[in-house]
């Protein structure tokens, strides 16, 4: 069965969600991933939205923003933004999804600006809740288009902290997060249009975990701004099942987010 790169990304994202987890779902592909996980292997997962909303069923209609009316109807709780972000700060959210304009080999994300931070060449919209999710969720899943200028050796500005950088006090990775005072978390996975990366918690480095069908390690390297390190079990990404594609297309019948 044919599928688009974004449909495959949705499937990869859904596989990150474990049953009964509380997930900061955001919009677009992660939202579809939440619906897919819910209807396949994770029927008890709960979705959290930074507008101040919790729901355990996907909305009845496709959403353009998380504040759209169909997202409120059927919600278990509609409350203030800081109430739900507070739950995440208290460590109660297992998984969070975010995107980014740029990422580096240590999973640090930039959604703020390109160039010098005092006088940026390109001003991007900023953090939104991204920096909070990257700081506070137990695990972070990142979804991005795979382009060489986006996967850089080092980002211009760390909006959402990943595993930091090696410095005179020690390595990147979990040790860096502990050094700066982040209470938990860090990137678990980076899902792109070409590949899936996991991360080595000891060094904080991205590991190529799988390359999508039709791509290859070489092609991924070509589009990645750092020398790839491969996971020991690096392999081709398992393609979507017909059942997974059927669910995705039910949720987004016109391919608004998946074409």
């Amino acid at each position: 069965m044919e599928y688009t790169p974004r449909e495959l990304m949705v499937v990869c994202a859904a596989r990150q969600i474990r049953d009964s987890e509380r997930v900061f779902v955001g919009m677009r592909l992660p939202l579809l991933a939440f619906a897919l996980a819910k209807r396949t292997h994770a029927p008890h997962c709960v979705g959290i939205f930074e507008t101040g909303l919790i729901r355990d069923t996907p909305a009845r209609e496709l959403l353009y923003t998380m504040g759209d009316a169909p997202n409120i109807c059927g919600a278990l709780w509609t409350t203030s933004t800081i109430n739900v972000l507070g739950l995440m700060a208290a460590g109660e959210i297992e998984l969070g999804f975010i995107g980014g304009a740029e990422i580096d080999r240590y999973g640090n994300l930039n959604t703020s600006l390109i160039g010098d931070w005092r006088q940026p060449r390109v001003r991007l919209p900023g953090s939104g809740g991204g920096a909070d999710i990257a700081s506070l969720a137990q695990r972070l899943a990142i979804i991005m288009p795979h382009e060489r200028h986006r996967l850089r050796e080092r980002v211009d500005f760390v909006t959402s902290p990943g595993y930091g950088y090696p410095d005179e006090q020690g390595s990147a990775g979990v040790a860096w997060r502990q050094r700066v005072g982040l209470p938990r978390g860090g990137p678990a996975v980076l899902i792109t249009t070409l590949a899936v990366f996991t991360f080595d918690p000891a060094t904080g480095e991205a590991l190529l975990q799988s390359y999508h069908p039709g791509s290859s390690i070489e092609q991924v390297q070509e589009q990645t701004g750092w020398p790839l390190r491969l996971a020991p079990d690096c392999a081709e990404t398992v393609p979507p099942t017909p059942e997974e594609l059927r669910v995705i297309r039910e949720c987004d019948p016109h391919g608004v987010w998946t074409r």
């Binding site: 101040g52 509609t78 203030s80 939104g128 809740g129 700066v180």
Partner: protein, 304 residues
């Protein structure tokens, strides 16, 4: 005591050059576009805008030259991407330079919550290791006096005026808001003064029949404006949906300064009032956004 004013009068009296204004606080819904457009028409200058994600209203105010400073987590177009006016102002100082004190959604909420509690700051572990504190010198990185662990102190933020769009209010400013709440209550409690824009003006008894649904204390409200569809193109739960197409058109047209100016002339400066805006929008478009299926909350009995 009635605080009912026309939008023109409310903005004239209570939004001054140089003021800090919090708006767009429910995130994507209930953005007070009609109020923002009146601020543009009245030519306010040197404003500080406070909000979480701020969708396109911040971009419009920036493009119109009203803004000196932004205190927000995100400025752009939620369903479309970048904010072109925000980019031009930041990158090229067009039409004027602006400065941004970057926040996250949590930190902007905590800043307003701190003010609402009379607390000078609230400590958090969010944003530790992020470069955002570089772009916001109001934050203070320190360590906990309890256990020495690193903390980011988010100082209290008190807007001069918070503008809230709600479903219904009485003439005193006792207002019901439902659906997405975002940081509306925090911003109302933190503010020196509050302007309420309401889809409907209702009797006091409608409001007091459900005091748990009231968003905040009416003694803070300086003006109540009755402006149906005043949040268009954003959504108001139970009243109208988000007009996604409108955001798309704005995104396309605002790519160039000329395109933005034409858009602004057409949708803001060339119209005297929100009534003219609605006439231009047309009944068919409004009809398409209107409620198709009512979904009433289960009854609640406050009796005794």
């Amino acid at each position: 005591m009635s605080k009912l004013l026309s939008m023109t009068e409310a903005i004239r009296r209570y939004v001054h050059d140089g003021a800090s204004i919090a708006l767009g606080l429910a995130l994507e819904p209930c953005i007070p576009f009609a109020a923002g457009h009146e601020i543009i028409r009245q030519g306010r200058r040197d404003l500080t805008l406070i909000g979480p994600i701020s969708d396109i209203l911040f971009d419009q105010l920036i493009g119109a030259g009203c803004v000196a400073k932004i205190q927000a987590a995100w400025v752009g177009n939620v369903s479309e991407g970048l904010g072109h006016c925000y980019r031009r102002a930041t990158e090229q100082a067009q039409p004027r330079p602006i400065i941004t004190e970057d926040h996250s959604n949590f930190s902007i909420g905590l800043a307003l919550r701190a003010a609402s509690l009379g607390a000078p700051y609230i400590p958090t572990r969010s944003l530790l290791g992020s470069d955002i504190p570089r772009k916001n010198s109001t934050f203070l990185q320190t360590t906990s006096p309890f256990d020495g662990s690193p903390l980011l102190l988010v100082p209290a933020l008190q807007p001069d005026v918070t503008i809230l769009h709600v479903q219904r209010s009485d003439e005193d400013g006792n207002a019901h808001l439902w659906g997405s709440l975002g940081i509306c209550q925090e911003a109302m409690l933190a503010a020196r003064q509050v302007i309420i824009i309401a889809e409907e003006i209702v009797a006091r008894e409608v409001i007091t029949s459900d005091p748990n649904r009231v968003i905040g204390p009416s003694y803070k409200v300086c003006a109540v404006v009755h402006e149906p569809w005043g949040a268009h193109p954003s959504a108001v739960q139970g009243y109208y949906d988000r007009d996604h197409q409108f955001y798309h058109e704005y995104h396309t047209r605002s790519r160039t300064p000329e395109g933005f100016q034409q858009w602004l002339d057409e949708w803001v400066l060339g119209l005297k009032t929100h009534q003219e805006y609605l006439a231009k929008l047309g009944e068919a478009r409004r009809g398409a956004l209107s409620v198709k299926e009512h979904r009433y909350a289960a009854p609640v009995d406050y009796g005794y």
